[in-house]
């Protein structure tokens, strides 16, 4: 226990002390903040564009072949009708008009042609926005009913209730976001932990520390502590990533126009959550242990690279059959993917999210993943011990599986 704790402390502390770790960990939230800001500025600019229709004070010419443009709407926005599209374009080119809109006979299938005087990269977008808005407002005026417009625009609300065979209400749709988040966390772990696991398991060989380390500490304790340390570091990393998201949600919800996102409608189904969390943890454990076995058998992280690709692709592979997994969960292929250890995590989490994973299936998947993770961990420890002195070559599978006295 003392060795385990010593290695664990050393591994966690040295990672958290590294500037590179914090740069890497903070890169994601910084990216999220930048994207959020762009979205915020984008939504502001969309709002501005809408507002521009009212106080857009640029004059434009237009030709309406559709017969849908309301003259008073167009006039109110600064438009003057003309007869010839060529004349309209020429007027813009010569500088006598600021913009020209050519509404085709069938705007539903043909594009509105817009010509405008260049102002700058941002303001040039207003011509298209105003051209569309004039047509939309004209149609709205033609219909004459905000209610009908709202219905046509899909602004209707549906409260659907589906019933299970036993007559109880199914909350699959409402619970799905939780399942999807758990699936996303699995992929996050796959992406974030791959490289660190390889570095952690090959570092001693690359630095020629293996002999000194293994005469001072037992390999099982070392490898177990290293993997647990990675888990702890991974949690810190996830925390760093999620912190700005949570802060952003709490502080900037209104500005980011996320107010419509009603989290209260999400249902936390106890079975879905429990199965999902356990499948996620067991899936991550199997993934880490598998990569550790590969890393421990390889002389360097670089040499393990090819095998790593396979280890990363296996959890992702079921996504290619996502449609089949969702629509035909009982098909033999989906059943095989559900219970094959290296695809079980993704498949079971996806099925769990859409409510097609039975309780017994979930329990079996957790057991399969946990047993596979334990076996892979034992294999990783064996590879760490037997491969510790293999500075030049990859340890063969046969050597790894052979029992020794």
């Amino acid at each position: 226990m003392s060795t385990f704790r010593t290695v664990l402390e050393f591994e966690v502390t040295r990672t958290l002390k590294k500037r590179a770790f914090w740069i890497g960990a903070l890169a994601v939230p910084v990216l999220i903040i930048v994207i959020g800001l762009i979205q915020f500025l984008g939504s502001q600019s969309a709002q501005d564009a809408e507002a521009q229709l009212g106080d857009s004070r640029f004059a434009f010419l237009y030709v309406d072949e559709s017969g849908l443009v309301d003259a008073s709407v167009a006039s109110g926005a600064g438009g003057t009708p003309i007869d010839s599209p060529e004349a309209g374009v020429e007027a813009v080119r010569s500088g006598s008009a600021e913009a020209f809109f050519h509404y085709p006979a069938d705007p539903a299938t043909e594009a509105i042609e817009v010509a405008g005087r260049h102002v700058n990269a941002f303001d040039d977008g207003r011509y298209g926005a105003v051209a569309s808005a004039v047509l939309t407002e004209s149609v709205r005026a033609e219909i004459g009913s905000d209610e009908l417009v709202s219905i046509i625009q899909g602004g209707t609300r549906v409260d659907a209730v589906t019933y299970l065979p036993d007559g109880s209400v199914s909350n699959v749709l409402a619970a799905m976001p939780v399942g999807i988040v758990l699936l996303a966390l699995l992929f996050l772990a796959v992406v974030l932990l791959g490289n660190p696991v390889l570095i952690a398991t090959t570092e001693e060989k690359e630095n020629r520390v293996a002999e000194i380390l293994l005469t001072s500490a037992r390999p099982n304790a070392v490898i177990a502590a290293k993997l647990v340390a990675l888990g702890i570091v991974g949690l810190v990393q996830v925390g760093v990533i999620l912190a700005p998201v949570v802060l952003g949600w709490l502080l900037l919800r209104d500005q980011l126009r996320l107010g419509e996102l009603d989290l209260s409608s999400i249902v936390f189904d106890p079975q879905l959550v429990t199965l999902g969390v356990l499948i996620l943890l067991a899936g991550i454990a199997l993934y880490i242990a598998s990569l550790a076995a590969v890393g421990a058998a390889a002389p360097s992280a670089k040499d393990a690279g090819g095998f790593t690709f396979i280890a990363i692709m296996l959890p992702l592979a079921p996504l290619y059959a996502a449609a089949l997994i969702v629509s035909q969960p009982d098909s033999p292929i989906v059943q095989a993917l559900t219970f094959f250890p290296f695809t079980a995590g993704t498949t079971a989490l996806l099925r769990n999210a859409v409510g097609s994973l039975d309780l017994w299936e979930g329990v079996v998947v957790i057991a399969v993943l946990a047993v596979a993770a334990a076996l892979m961990l034992a294999l990783a420890a064996r590879a760490f011990r037997r491969g510790a002195l293999e500075y030049e070559r990859m340890l063969g599978l046969r050597e790894l599986l052979r029992r020794r006295r």
């Binding site: 002999e211 000194i212 293994l214 001072s216």
Partner: protein, 247 residues
């Protein structure tokens, strides 16, 4: 004297090829034992098997009566392939290994600082090990090897790559450990050094013992020759003429 290290019927095979065959020897408590042989004769393999780093194909290799396990007998090992965590601060690496060897954090830190002070490296304690010169890294490595006051000190080609200053430090360490009664296994190509330091030797060739016993007895067995000449007798020195002349 009782044996601290016992090797009985040791055979080591890799991929079906036997590299060490029926090896038997003891190392008594408190003695300095020279393990000799040319490159590839099986010295390092024997030490690795003794320390449980590789599993023997046959035979029994024990330290204090049982197979070596970390946490048992205190062993200081300076391997031929040596290195430490280059990106970590010197003091962190030393304390880490001290704790793995069973010292408390405080004791490991105190010992490490004292060692660095003695080696004129006190101001480098917080630097990444990789930023130290090769010679300074060797000093740190030596400190890690002896920091838990080992009962058995195993030095595999200890002077390999060491500059003269560090060779001197190493010899001081060896002398102090001998005076304290530490058991010492020394693997070296420097026959003069072994002759000066070792009580007994084992000379390996192709994985088999070719000479074993007290230094004086081995020399007598070979007609009073020096260990260097004994080595040349066992391995055979090719005459320069065999290589022919460059046209």
């Amino acid at each position: 004297m009782t044996a601290l290290v016992e090797v009985r019927g040791y055979r080591q095979a890799f991929g079906g090829r036997t590299v060490i065959d029926r090896l038997e020897f003891d190392v008594a408590r408190g003695e300095t034992f020279g393990l000799l042989g040319s490159n590839g004769s099986g010295k390092t393999t024997t030490l690795r098997a003794l320390l449980g780093l590789i599993e023997p194909s046959e035979g029994r290799l024990t330290i204090a009566g049982s197979r070596y396990r970390p946490g048992g007998v205190r062993v200081g090992y300076l391997p031929e392939e040596r290195g430490l965590y280059k990106r970590e601060p010197v003091i962190d690496v030393m304390v880490y290994f001290g704790r793995l060897k069973g010292l408390s954090r405080e004791a490991a830190a105190r010992w490490s600082h004292e060692w660095l002070e003695r080696m004129d490296l006190a101001e480098k304690a917080k630097l990444a090990l990789g930023k130290l010169s090769g010679g300074q890294q060797q000093k740190v490595q030596l400190g890690v090897t002896i920091m838990d006051d080992p009962e058995l000190l195993i030095l595999d080609e200890p002077t390999k790559g060491f500059d003269p200053v560090n060779q001197r430090i190493l010899m001081d360490i060896v002398a102090k450990q001998q005076a304290k009664g530490t058991t010492l296994i020394l693997v070296s190509h420097d026959m003069g050094q072994v002759e000066r330091l070792a009580d007994r030797i084992l000379l390996l060739k192709d994985g088999r013992a070719r000479a074993y016993g007290r230094v004086a007895d081995v020399r007598a067995e070979f007609g009073g020759k020096s260990l260097n000449d004994v080595f040349l007798d066992v391995y055979g020195a090719p005459a320069v003429g065999e290589f022919g002349e460059v046209a």
